[in-house]
Symmetry: D2
């Protein structure tokens, strides 16, 4: 071996270094960017944001019907006003001097198990029901899965009921879109059936109507589309990010410095021990 040749040891070390980060998502060479094998210039202007989201998260490209349903779900959850902690945090961050990226980061960060995880938990429940239903009737599968869920997590079933909306208009609309897609053979409708059966079972268990909310309806959509439960959270974040950005921007234009949650004269309660 001559002086100029790279030795086996070094080659091995460099290869391990190059293999430290590996991806199937993107191939970049000078002048070339390919997403899942497709040159980026073929995608720009030809496919939409929702198509791109699917392409990056799934093995196969979406059909137009799948893209439409995904897009509907992404549109549905963009905002729920400045009383939602994520939105409030985005606005407060701006008044602290944070740039848009900082405001968005602080806000997105709190879309955790409770504020951003209901869709994920609901989809996991639906998938458990779907699995149970391979070997038993749907209503038995629902009861079995609900019992398991309640035993593990308690009585609040994610995706059902809303402390503010008697009926969630977003859920009604999303379910109608799933029904239409099923009617035209574009989705199976299995998760819509599951979702409605859960609603029925909750009504029987509690003696009152607890209608599906936005998290339940997006779980139905994402279930029909074959997404993993965890991605229900990821997709919700892409959706809510629009509202988070818009409220940050609105607050920036309104001005205000170091805005706490409430007017200073309202204040908080100091609990003195005694």
């Amino acid at each position: 071996m001559t002086n100029g040749k790279i030795s086996e040891q070094a080659v091995e070390m460099l290869n391990r270094a190059k293999a430290w980060w590996t991806t199937r998502l993107i191939d970049i060479r000078p002048g070339v960017i390919r997403i899942k094998g497709e040159p980026i210039e073929n995608l720009i202007g030809n496919v939409g944001y929702a198509h791109m989201v699917w392409l990056m998260l799934r093995d196969e490209p979406p059909t137009p019907a799948q893209t439409r349903l995904l897009e509907a779900a992404l549109v549905a959850a963009v905002d729920h006003g400045p009383q939602a902690p994520s939105i409030a945090i985005s606005r407060m961050a701006v008044t602290c001097g944070a740039p848009l990226n900082g405001a968005m980061a602080s806000a997105i960060n709190v879309l955790d198990d409770i504020h951003g995880g209901a869709g994920q938990q609901c989809l996991a429940l639906f998938q458990a029901i779907d699995s149970h239903a391979q070997t038993r009737p749907l209503d038995a599968a629902v009861q079995l899965a609900l019992d398991g869920f309640v035993a593990e997590y308690g009585k609040v079933i994610p995706g059902y009921g809303h402390r503010f909306h008697p009926v969630d208009p977003r859920a009604v609309r999303l379910l109608a879109l799933v029904d239409a897609a099923q009617a035209s053979g574009e989705v199976e409708g299995r998760f819509a059936r599951i979702g409605r059966q859960v609603e029925k079972a909750l009504g029987e268990r509690t003696g009152k109507q607890i209608p599906m909310n936005i998290d339940g309806a997006t779980a139905v959509v994402y279930g029909e589309l074959g997404f993993a439960p965890e991605l229900a959270r990821g997709l919700f974040i892409l959706s809510r990010s629009v509202g988070i950005l818009a409220h940050a921007w609105e607050q920036k234009n309104q001005g205000g410095r170091i805005k706490g949650p409430m007017p200073p004269d309202l204040g908080y309660t100091y609990l003195q021990d005694n």
Copy 2:
């Protein structure tokens, strides 16, 4: 005043509390969610994500042509691979145990002035040129604005040149879409002209080709569409969030625990004082 009436003082205090957070974006009542006056159920399934982004950030709804251009820009910047700090951070965060929201937050947070601000800075430069060009020829306006920019920020002009791509395929494609929109009268093409004139001027100043990159091309698009410079950063974040999510998800499926930036045996350099 009778016992049952709310006193003026309390009403005033409650009103100030209610006015602490104000928004024109969204109106929420039991069973009703209106975005910029439009019931959410009329938007879901009828408009796409890019339309929704526009609606939330602007005073007027977009035309279909505007939506298409905005969507093209949102698609263009979704990913640039695991060597980009934002993407690397998202993947590292997952190996530290962070959920998707946490990984996305840590990553989006670093889309700051240098890693995420080039589009904003470039659009601000373009708008300055556009303003100068009201009263002088375009090439003079470009020289004036470039001199001002260099005096304030130094020689690196954001939106031009790429350390990896001799020509950025995303920029070429985006400019072609702007040209087509101009040809059909959908945009004026003023910012495309400005962008190209800057490229020409940089070539003359430096003696070498420094072609427009993705940040320059999206600045052209956002300029044509009338967005404020700061929103160029916000829109870039919505775009790159797709890649950030997809890489977090891929890393989660790959596994790995507490992955530092490089293989441990490569390590870092300790600089000993002596």
Copy 3:
């Protein structure tokens, strides 16, 4: 009721608003700031940072011996170099343009279950052993708890072994400090015994020495001091924040723009499907 009086309804509403955030930590009035009842000016200059940390997290003030042990643990974990994801992220964030607060936030955020949770998990294990040991000999309690832990979480026991250090010098020193505090009657030494018994049991189970690491040793300290497991994570964050800040600052002074994890010519591996 006269005109000037605040009605019951409004008073009730205002009271609920004031009770929305409640705290026992701090009482603030014009010109007065009291932490757990103590005027802040009596604390400043009279107690140290570690004392203050304890005061804010616990019901009773610390003894000097408790403060010393807590401070030792806070000092021990400040840094483990730029290969730790948290530190690397802090440095990368600075090269993206993030201010110190942004760099620290992105970094602290990844101190999650895997990168920042070992102390918490280890302390929870120790407390389970301590509880089992009320009714059986310590070695049986350790076996019982280890079996439970392995069944639930797998074979890796947090707080033991280090991929880099055969013996962790921080753990040795912290244990010596606990032993000294026990010898002088300042702590009971119950958690030191538990920690060492776990080390012994792991050696017998695996046939090799798996010595306690920094997370195990801080879990011993925090156990002796009576902290809840979750606070082991919180205290670790206060400690590691020092290193995160210092590396951000060093990187800022070094310069560098958009530094990815590795030199660009080393790059990553694109896994092509075929």
Copy 4:
């Protein structure tokens, strides 16, 4: 050169990789951790948190007097209650399901220019005055620097005045500690003089007392200790992190799910265009 030898080219590439991250802060080898050359086991139990902070951020170790002043400043700013946006965000984050690291990250992130930058800006002003005072009397230096500051940033001088406290008890105490340190020859007192001269000048300019607040007083301390202005922000973060952690923990123990900034029945104001 033989087959087993590492070629020059590979050695060079590997060296560049190892040099990608460089630090003077910490040297780690198997079984060895040295901070600024000092084995970590010599620091644990022998120096306090504040000493460690100094050691990591500065070239020379602190004197005991320097450590005491730094510690006083770190103690002074730990908390200002749940109406501060950073604290409110920490508490809200917990009710969204965020772990302690996530809550702390979202909160620390907003300690940006406005909410966390006053100390930094004030210290930069003080240093400008100190520089001007090399060649002119102190009062002239103050006037010159104030004029420059107002021209660039507007009339609000960071570090002076408080919207809640007529006199900030933290500032009074910190200044007394600086005075005592000056009396015993441990600090020069140059920045205390500057700070007081600014207070005097502001009184003359505005016709009312605008006393130094916590940010002004910590800027005096950090100025006396020779810290760079940017580190005034970093040190404030280490301090406020204690309060952020403690409020997160208190909220966690209080419970509560998805707590928005205000009680839902108080709500926000929708501004309808008309």
